[in-house]
Amino acid sequence: GESVGLHLPTLSVQEGDNSIINCAYSNSASDYFIWYKQESGKGPQFIIDIRSNMDKRQGQRVTVLLNKTVKHLSLQIAATQPGDSAVYFCAEREGGNTPLVFGKGTRLSVIA
């Protein structure tokens, strides 16, 4: 299949372990943040979002943490599975219909 990113930072995780993917954002005015998962040959898929008035939000097996003081966002995946292997992007936005600004991405590789 088509490769989304050939030279991205890579995180290798054993199946069943927890994964933590980090992202530094640049715009202190951003008030909405999203994590996307992109598998080879596909478009980005929404995972979870968080607004700037929150510092933590949980979904199914995923948790997003936001630290506005240091402009840092993280995605935690519990009990990582082979199907979680993909490139993960964080994206920020100033709200409403303003354009999404994507980070560089991290490739997650799950070792069975």
Binding site: E2, V4, L6, F46, G96, N97
Partner: protein
């Protein structure tokens, strides 16, 4: 309920040619955004269409233009293709609700190769 669809899947062009890419938004969505994703990079915003008008534009030259039709589908046109235009072109649709946060749904993309 079909999601965002894009055509064609792959396209090969030569320098100087022109290309048109197409996008049909998710049912019920009225806003279409286009992104360019170079290999190894995150998507970069090109422009956004709502009510058949370009509403916002990223840092892309005038060679990149678009159109939105009354049925909300959209086209991206690129003229005078350069080698550097080779990328995955993504379409994302959303529902505009004033200033409300609204999730964008992405299509699978069109892989453009310029030789």
């Amino acid at each position: 309920d079909a999601g965002v669809t894009q055509s064609p899947t792959h396209l090969i062009k030569t320098r100087g040619q022109q290309v048109t890419l197409r996008c049909s938004p998710k049912s019920g969505h009225d806003t279409v955004s286009w992104y360019q994703q170079a290999l190894g990079q995150g998507p970069q915003f090109i422009f956004q269409y709502y009510e058949e008008e370009e509403r916002q534009r990223g840092n892309f030259p005038d060679r990149f233009s678009g159109h939105q039709f009354p049925n909300y589908s959209s086209e991206l046109n690129v003229n005078a293709l350069l080698l550097g235009d080779s990328a995955l072109y993504l379409c994302a649709s959303s529902l505009r609700l004033g200033l409300a946060f609204n999730e964008q749904f992405f299509g699978p993309g069109t892989r453009l190769t310029v030789l």
